[in-house]
Each structure stands twice: as C-alpha cells, then as structure tokens.
C-alpha cells in the first residue's frame, strides 16, 4: 500500500543554476483522481519553476477552492502558500503582493472558482494588472462538488451526467484580453511541451499573466461528447504557433530565419519566440487576438499557445505609484516620519 512517492530521482538529473534539485520544487502526494489533468499541470509548474531557476522560497502560491485549488499542496512544497476562500484568490494575492512585491506570485484557480463565484475578482485583478501568474485549471465543471457544469462548459457539451449544457460559455482568455490583461495564453494539460514554456514566460512577465489550461476531469467530464475531454481537445486544438521561451540569462544559440520568427521581448529582457505558421497573427495586437479567438470558436477549435502579450505594461505598483520598497519592510520611522515632516506638509497648504 503506498502512493507515497519514493525519494529517489533520476541520477542524471543535475541541480538547476540556482543550485536546487527538482525535488525542491515538488510537493506532497496528490489525492486527486488518477488521470486528472490538474496533476499534469502541477508537474508542468514544477518543471517550469525548476527550469527558471526561481528559488522556491521566493514563490507564493495562492488558490481558492476546488480540486484545482488543492493542487498547490502537490507542487512547490517549500514555497509560501495560502489556500483561501472560494473565488477569492485574487484579493488574497493582491494583499500579499502589496506587502511584498518581490516574490513571484502564482495564483491557482479553477473554472468554477474563476468564472462563477470569482468572476468579479478575476476581472478586477486583471484591470489592476497585479504582477502575478494566474493559472486556471479549466475542466468545464465543478470537479470537487461532483461535476456540475461550470460557466466555461461549452453550450451543448455533455458531461458524465448525460444532459447537454444549455448555457453560453465564458471564454476566459477573451475576457482577460478585454479587461486589459498584459499576458494571455491557453494551454492543455496533455501538452507539456507547450505548457512549460508558457509558464516560464509567465514567470518572467510583469503584470497579470493569465494561462487558461484545459484540464480534463477524468471522473466527471471526460466523455467523448465533452469539449473538455482528452480526446476532444486533442482533435480540436489549433496552436498559435510553436512557442519558445528564451530567458534573459540564457544565450540565444538557435539561429532562426528572421522571416519565420516573431520575437517579443519581455520586461526583463527575456524573449518569446513564435515560429510563424500559415495562419499567423500578431499576438501583440489586442483586436487580432480577440478575432483569432472568435474565429477558432466559430470553427469549434480551441486556440492554444500565447494569445496576447503586451510586454511593457505597468503593474499595480506602477499605476498607484507605490513605494519602491516593499511595504512589509517599512518600519515605524518610515511610516511616521515625525512631527517636523508633518509640519512641512501642512505648511505646503497654508
């Protein structure tokens, strides 16, 4: 009887440049259903943070409620974490970010957590462009409460319950772009080759980086007629182009034919490379990105990959001109500079 993972890892697996081993990025044993897409996303997060050389103690993972929101227990076991209230992950993340803007904030949520009860929070955190990664593990249902259709379930999609969904679905990527998100991508739990670089780029991006990851619920929503099943997603996904992420520290060794590559430089100098395909569009153009999403939707396709990137946006701290120093480092002297300073200020209004 086990399910606890042995402590050994592949002997050829060297530590990363920051000196951490892959184990330093792992978490506890998953209690999700075997085959749940969320576990694969967890694994992609582990791999992406490992490859990005982010020290685990520099990460704060925050989640809401749901099977998806349980996953922070299964990755980054040495990072800070807060499993919050249903739909309230963004406000907790905002508070934490205000206190210490120097951590990497990883918000983890579900489609129920984000598109239903937390829709308001989702919209407003994006408007504020809070510097965080916002991953939605999107299975089109409320997995934890036994698989009710969620707001991202496509109209007509049939889950294990057997009845087609009657309501229009919400496309979280479209909303995110409309709300001014500066980084929007869509992944699939069954395609880590695409997902890992997306997460790595999101780690380096400044502002809210939304990644909507289709993540089949094997137990309640993996029927052949469900548009969030392994089979359906594989048959209907269409990538925006092969995606490479070149972190700043890494020398660019690959040589590309300039005509075939679109390069987007992020805030910290890291570069996203998009290999152009026939149906290329400019992912820095908000309108074209929305069009591409709508076109794919009409064709019953799922558009995956990087969908919209605005690399040079201002995050919440910039917008609100908040102190350059992280707020939790300000002590009494900084906050109450004394009577003479108060007098000087008052004098300005005399």
């Amino acid at each position: 009887m086990s399910s606890s993972r042995p402590g050994f890892r592949h002997p050829d697996l060297a530590p990363n440049e920051a000196g951490y081993t892959i184990k330093d990025y792992e978490g506890g044993a998953s209690t999700l259903c075997a085959g749940c897409g969320h576990d694969s996303i967890s694994r992609a997060i582990v791999q992406a943070f490992f490859e990005s050389n982010v020290p685990p103690h520099q990460v704060a993972k925050i989640s809401g409620i749901g099977c998806s929101s349980k996953t922070p227990a299964y990755f980054l076991g040495k990072s800070h974490g807060f499993n919050s209230v249903h739909g309230r992950m963004p406000s907790i993340a905002t508070g934490a970010n205000m206190a210490n803007k120097d951590l990497v904030y990883l918000g983890v949520s579900g489609d129920g957590d984000t598109a239903s009860i937390g829709a308001g929070q989702f919209i407003h955190v994006i408007r504020r462009n809070l510097n965080m990664i916002y991953i939605i593990m999107n299975n089109g249902c409320y997995g934890l409460t036994k698989g009710q259709d969620s707001a991202t379930a496509d109209k007509g999609s049939i889950s294990r319950k057997g009845a087609p969904n009657l309501l229009e679905s919400i496309d979280l990527c479209e909303i995110a772009i409309q709300m001014g998100a500066s980084f929007v991508a869509r992944g699939f739990s069954g395609d880590k080759q695409q997902l890992i670089p997306l997460i790595k780029a999101a780690i380096r991006h400044k502002g809210t980086a939304v990644i909507d990851v289709i993540s089949p619920c094997v137990t309640f929503n993996n029927t052949p007629q469900s548009t969030k099943s392994y089979q359906w997603v594989r048959e209907h996904s269409e990538a925006t182009g092969t995606f490479d992420f070149i972190p700043l520290q890494q020398e660019i060794v690959a040589s590309y034919n300039p005509g075939e590559i679109a390069a987007i430089t992020l805030h910290d100098g890291s570069i996203i490379h998009l290999h152009k395909t026939a149906e290329d569009f400019d992912i820095t153009n908000r309108r074209k990105s929305l069009d591409a999403l709508e076109e794919a939707r009409e064709k019953h396709h799922i558009l995956t990959g990087a969908i919209y990137v605005k690399p040079d946006g201002q995050d919440t701290h910039d917008l609100l001109s908040i102190s350059d120093r992280k707020l939790n480092s300000l002590d009494k002297e900084d906050l109450c500079p004394g009577n003479s300073v108060l007098q000087d200020i008052n004098d300005q209004y005399r």
């Binding site: 009887m1 086990s2 399910s3 606890s4 993972r5 042995p6 402590g7 050994f8 890892r9 592949h10 002997p11 050829d12 697996l13 998953s30 259903c33 075997a34 085959g35 749940c36 897409g37 576990d39 694969s40 967890s42 694994r43 739990s189 069954g190 880590k192 089949p216 094997v218 993996n222 392994y230 089979q231 594989r234």
Partner: protein, 594 residues
C-alpha cells in the same frame, strides 16, 4: 523502433539485473522478498535450486550480481545480495524433506565425474534424480574441491561446507575419494556412458626464472599449494616477515592466512596499479583491515639469499603508461631497485590448467592455452561422451560459474545419453503473475526504502587473527537482514503497458519518480534514446517501446532506473499499466522436457 517483444523470455529477465548477471540466474528478488516475510526456508530452497551452495556462496561468492544491481545506480551501493543469501542459510529450518527424491530404480546409465569440486557436485545433484548412477573421483578425502582446499576457514567454516556438500553426496553419489586419476583410459575402460571432467585449475604459477628462486626454494612457496597445506595441517606456521606476490583473491587469502600463522609484517606486492588488481574490493578491504599494506607498481627482480636464508627481494619501481589504444605497459621509473626484507615469500601470481593424466592419444583436442576444445553451449569435448566444466573448461573463474557449468553439463549429458538433439538448448521456465490485490494494494511491498547498505558485523580482529578457523563475519541478524532485504527494488515485478486503453493523460509520466516513461514520436533507437525527457544514456539497459497509442505516438520506457514502485499503475485511470511478477527459472536437466 519496433514494439518490444515482451514475450521473449530474455526481455524481462534482463530487467532483473542481478538475476541476469548471476551465471546460475538465481531468482534474487524472489528470495530477498521471502526474507522480508521471514520465510527463510523457502528463500533458501530457491537459492539451492539455482546455485546449489547458498550457505557457501552467501559467504564467499564473487557476487557478479552486485555490480549489476539497480540499487547501485540510484544510490551508490548495491543491495547486499550475497550476504542476504547467508541470512537464508543461517535461519532456515530442516530442509532434508525438501530435497529431490532419487529413484531407487536406476535408468541404466553410468557416469564418471572426475574432480569433486562445485562443478561435479552440481552435475551429480541435477542428474541423480533422473536415475543416473554416478561415480565421483577426487584426490582429496572429502568433496568440495578448491572450496575445501583453498578457501580459508575464517571465510568459510568447515561445517557449512560439509553440510552443503553433504546434501549432494548423501543423495547417493558413489564417492571414490583419495583417488587421484592418473589416466583417462583407466576411467573410460570402465565402460562409463559419459565422463565429466572438472578437475579445476590446480597448478599455481611459479616465477622460476627469477634469480635466487632455486637457492631460496625452502622459503618460497606456491600460494595455492601453501593454502592447501594449511588446510590439511601440513603447514602450521610462517615466519614473521612475509611478502605475498600477486593481486588476486589468492593473494588476499595468502596474506590473511599468514597473519594467522605467525606472520607479523605481511605485505602484498603487486606489479600493476591498485585499480587493476583482480581481487574483489571487499577482499582487499578485509586485508587492509588486518594491517596488511598493499604496495602497487612493483615488479619483482630477484630473491636475495644470504647464508642459506632468504633475506628479501629486489623490486623495480614502475609507472603504468598507456598507448593510444589504452593498452597498459609498466615502465621503470629509473630509480634504483627497492629492497624489501622478508623471511618467506608466497607466490600468488596465477593459476594454470594441467591435464598430465589425459593421454596424448585420448582423442581430446586441446587448444594452444592447454584448454580442451569445447562446444561453449554444451561443454562437449571433441570426444562426444566426454564433457568438461568449471575451472578445467575455460580456466580459473569462481564457484558460481562452476555451478552454472554444472547445470549446463547435466543438461548436455542427459540429452546426449537420451540420444536427443544437442544443437538446441532447453528454454527457461517463465511465468507472469499479477501483483494487484486491490486499489493501490500490491502483493509486494512497493514502498522504496531509502536506507543505505548495512555493513555485516564482524568478530574483533584480536580474536580472529589468533585462530585461522574462526569465522570473521558474523552475518546479518534477522532484523538487519530484513532491513537490508527491503532495499531490494523488486526488479522482477514488471511494468506492462497496454497501448490500446491508454488515453495519454500523462498521469504515469507525471508520477514516475525517475522519469522513465515518455510518450513521443517513434524513431530509431539512437534518436529515441536522445529525445527522452532524460536521455537514455545507459546503453546496456533496454528501451520498452509500445504499439502506437491513439495520437500515433509511442510509449517509450527507459528501464534503466525504474524503481518498480508501481506508482504508474496506481495513478493510471484506465489500468493501462499492470504490475506482474516475472519468474524466470533457467533450465535444468530434470525439467528439460522439450
């Protein structure tokens, strides 16, 4: 790559690294698991069936299995496979009722075995249950061969040897002891249906050409003759200062025995660098522990005899040099020769085969090295009714190889005497049985121990150096034995994949602690090895390639560091991974029914 043929009996056999490396293919993980269940007698019998001398080998086996052990690839040290064998022997119950029954009614065929070492004893054990009449000739007064005359009692106590040799002799061997065969004709004239020759490699190499060898003869001994002399009580002491020349296990036994017979300053001198010494690392360690320095890169030049007594030896100091092909030569450093004082010298510089008793016109063809020309598969010589095995066949090896030869020879002799086809070999007996008991519940313990290798407790050397009969090692007690047994990774519990039901959810890929599993585009082996999530650089380990899954990709599993933890099977939502125990029994004469 083509999908792997997992029905080929050798595919999963190879995954069981230890069993595959064991010349007698002992089902190692199976007996180790039985130790964790305290089923010592069964564990012993599994060994006995394969390697015939578990109590002996559990103390002195050369252990080719341990360097192969998977545990050694994930944690520096292998499972103590050999010493766990001893645990089965130390804790077993009475096994006499479990031994094979030998029919009273004989089958009418008579076989002579020449030499009473482990090879012949194995042949006897395998053929007696089939009704053969067996005469065994040996020049000693008891059976066991070199296990008796060479391997010192402080490593292998006589009672252990007597017990396991006794099981076989008591099955009904007609033993003709104290009988040195001086002529093959003498034997063949007796009308045996087949003759098996396993007389070992009984001649120790000398350094006859070295100056001073003749003059110092009283003080210079051939190692293996000297060791036999000690065992048989002709030699009871040695002088204080002893040089042992040679870097193999014989040298280690010579120096350690010297320490017990009065040698106070005992040194081992080796021509080549230490790293190239033939002796097993653990034997070298034991010698060093008994205060015996090992001096490498010293080539003997001469024995110095003064006033009729050996005064010492001169050595040339050398350094190893390697040419482009990596071939090593020893080149003198140019320094003046080094003189080492000593009273006696033991030569342990190699063993040779010798068959002075086989007539030149016997019809048996020998090669340039003085070894018989044999069919390597059947061990049959140029005379169809004469077979060879053990050290006599291909030069000095070890006990477990001797046992493996014995099994093979028994098969060949049986087939030959039944007039059956000798060109093909019988197949192993194999079985695959599910390990699933219930949800995440397995018949084997799939938690992977992170304990390091336990060391075997020993007696204090102040005691053992005084008595050459006192065994140094005490063996694991049951408790530690069990803990060591839990270090075994159950490599015989195989992961078996069904591509037809897989939905490619990646759950197995994600959970696998050692990144064995990949779903990728198929390609040739080399490109596949390179493109796995962690490249499969250990070319000795197989890739398990499946039929295509739905997307057209294939599942490729690198067997190299699979922990056999079963988590892939536990996390698969569709039951596409199964854990099945693979039992592989190498063929024996008594179950060769093909």
């Amino acid at each position: 790559m083509k999908p792997t043929d997992i029905n080929h009996p050798e595919y999963f056999h190879k995954v069981i690294d230890c069993q595959y490396a064991c010349p007698a293919h002992t089902p190692v993980p199976e007996y180790i698991r039985l130790i964790t269940e305290e089923r010592y007698t069964e564990a012993y019998m599994i060994n006995w069936e394969s390697n015939v001398f578990p109590g002996i080998l559990g103390r002195v086996c050369d252990r080719p299995c341990e360097p192969a052990c998977r545990r050694g690839r994930i944690q520096k040290e292998a499972v103590a496979i050999c010493r766990l064998k001893r645990v089965t022997a130390d804790n077993k119950g009475d096994i006499t009722q479990l031994l094979p029954k030998v029919p009273k009614e004989k089958n009418g065929k008579k076989i002579a075995l020449i030499g009473g070492g482990p090879t012949s004893l194995t042949v006897a054990r395998d053929l007696l249950p089939l009704g053969y009449e067996i005469d065994l000739y040996d020049d000693q007064n008891k059976a066991g061969g070199f296990m008796r005359s060479q391997v010192p009692s402080f490593r292998l106590p006589e009672d252990i040897l007597d017990e396991e040799v006794g099981y076989i002799i008591n099955m009904g061997v007609n033993a003709i002891f104290n009988h040195r065969v001086e002529s093959l004709k003498e034997i063949t004239d007796k009308g045996y249906d087949a003759v098996f020759i396993a007389t070992g490699a009984p001649k120790g190499r000398d350094l006859a050409d070295l100056p001073g060898r003749q003059e110092g003869d009283n003080f210079i001994h051939i190692g293996i003759d000297w060791l036999a002399g000690v065992v048989f009580g002709h030699i009871t002491s040695i002088k204080k200062r002893v040089l042992v020349l040679g870097g193999g296990n014989t040298a280690m036994d010579c120096c350690r025995t010297s320490r017990r017979l009065g040698g106070e300053k005992v040194k081992v001198v080796v021509r080549s660098p230490k790293e190239e010494m033939k002796a097993s690392p653990w034997e070298i360690e034991d010698a060093i522990h008994e205060d015996i320095p090992i001096l490498d890169n010293h080539v003997p030049l001469e024995f110095v005899v003064e006033n009729g007594r050996l005064a010492g030896m001169h050595f040339d100091r050398v350094t190893p040099q390697y040419d482009e092909e990596g071939k090593r030569s020893l080149v003198s450093t140019g320094e003046p020769p080094l003189f080492m004082e000593c009273d006696e010298v033991l030569l342990a510089v190699g063993q040779q085969n010798a068959f002075p008793w086989i007539e030149e016109d016997s019809g048996i063809v020998f090669n340039k090295r003085g070894l018989p020309e044999l069919n390597p598969d059947t061990l049959q010589s140029s005379l169809p009714n004469i077979f060879f095995g053990g050290d006599a066949a291909f030069g000095p090896k070890n006990i477990i190889t001797a046992v493996a030869h014995g099994h093979q020879a028994a098969i060949s002799i049986h087939r030959f005497l039944q007039g059956r086809d000798m060109t093909s070999q019988p197949s192993p007996t194999t079985s695959l049985t599910t390990q699933k008991v219930g949800f995440n519940d397995w018949m084997y313990d799939n938690t992977v121990s992170s304990d390091f290798r336990f060391s075997v407790p020993t007696r204090d050397k102040t005691k053992t150096l005084k008595d050459r009969l006192l065994e140094v090692e005490l063996g694991f007690n049951r408790e530690v034995g069990k803990k060591e047994a839990y270090r075994c990774l159950n490599c015989d519990v195989q992961t078996i994949f069904d591509a037809s039901t897989c939905i490619e959810c990646d759950a197995c890929v994600d959970i696998c602690p050692t990144n064995c599993i990949n779903f990728i585009e198929n390609s040739d082996e080399l490109s596949l090895r390179k493109s796995l999530s962690i490249p499969a650089n250990n070319l000795e380990q197989s890739l398990y390639v499946s039929e295509p899954v739905k997307t057209g990709k294939v599942m490729v599993k690198d067997e190299n560091v699979c922990l056999h933890c079963g988590l892939c099977a536990e996390r698969c939502p569709t039951g596409s991974w199964e854990m099945l125990k693979y039992i592989y029994q190498s063929p024996k004469a008594y179950n060769d029914n093909e």
